[in-house]
């Protein structure tokens, strides 16, 4: 049987690599990496602006909470509210008759 010595064979390849291929590839890769780095930088700047904007919005909420300008009575502190009798004293006759009609209607 014929013996075949693989180790003694040439390590040469039957293919060719095009001339300047590696230099061209290097430039292409470096340019692509440059683009990716720029995209990453832009993304970081946008993220930074977004976080600054949300921090400002949160700070605004704490400084000027919603409803602070609406004069909503403080129902937790009932002593600050006028009593029903005080309110009735200030009503006109017309308002009183309307109040009495509504009280009867709602059963109060």
């Amino acid at each position: 049987m014929k013996e075949f010595d693989l180790e003694s064979m040439s390590r040469e390849m039957p293919f060719k690599m095009p001339e300047h291929f590696l230099d061209d590839m290097t430039e292409r890769v470096v340019s692509q990496i440059g683009k990716q780095r720029k995209q990453n930088r832009d993304r970081k700047i946008v993220a930074l602006f977004a976080s600054v904007a949300s921090a400002a919005a949160v700070a605004l909420l704490f400084l000027h909470p919603f409803g602070s300008s609406l004069n909503i009575p403080d129902y937790d502190n009932i002593s600050q509210c006028a009593s029903v009798d005080e309110v009735l004293q200030d009503m006109t006759a017309e308002e009183l008759s309307l109040y009495s009609m509504m009280s009867n209607y709602y059963g109060n």
Partner: protein
Amino acid sequence: MKRDLSDSMQSQGSLSVSDESIARMLCDDNHVEQAVRLIMKKYGEQLYWHIRRMVVAHDDAEDCLQETMINVYKYRSTYSNEYPLSSWLYKIATNESLKLLKNRAGFTMSVDDLGDSLKDSVREEASPNADETLILLQEAIALLPAKQKMVFNLRYYDDKSYEEIHQIVGDSVNTLKTNYHYAVQKIKDYILEHQL
């Protein structure tokens, strides 16, 4: 400072720059492009031929090498200096080659079913004046299962030790030795059968 380091690297010649220096530059945002240039200068040709022996066609090797280098940039933070830089680069290149072959095989076939089409590509891609025995050898390699092909190429062409191949491929040294043994046997059989 950035300029000084780049200039000194250029004047020293890329091949003399240590892998440790390249790895450090790779993780430094100010020197990453310089590091990629150095890797291409030092390992570009080896990586190209490693990929080409796996995928055969130059166009495919070109795509794989480009993806390999982009991944080197993207995943540079995952490099650990407990392994040589070259093993890490070969590992990425091997994965990219396998990814391309898996895409080609699609859902219905496995990478190992691509042997015949890769073998046909060998003859199409061979230089007109290429030695017939070298073509036969590449045909025999193309017909090998992917794992045996990887191990054979890394040992036979890249002269890697089994320990280095283990770092690249991941299997145990004994498994790698078995793969190499079977690969050599199949290649010898193919060449003896087809040699004029």
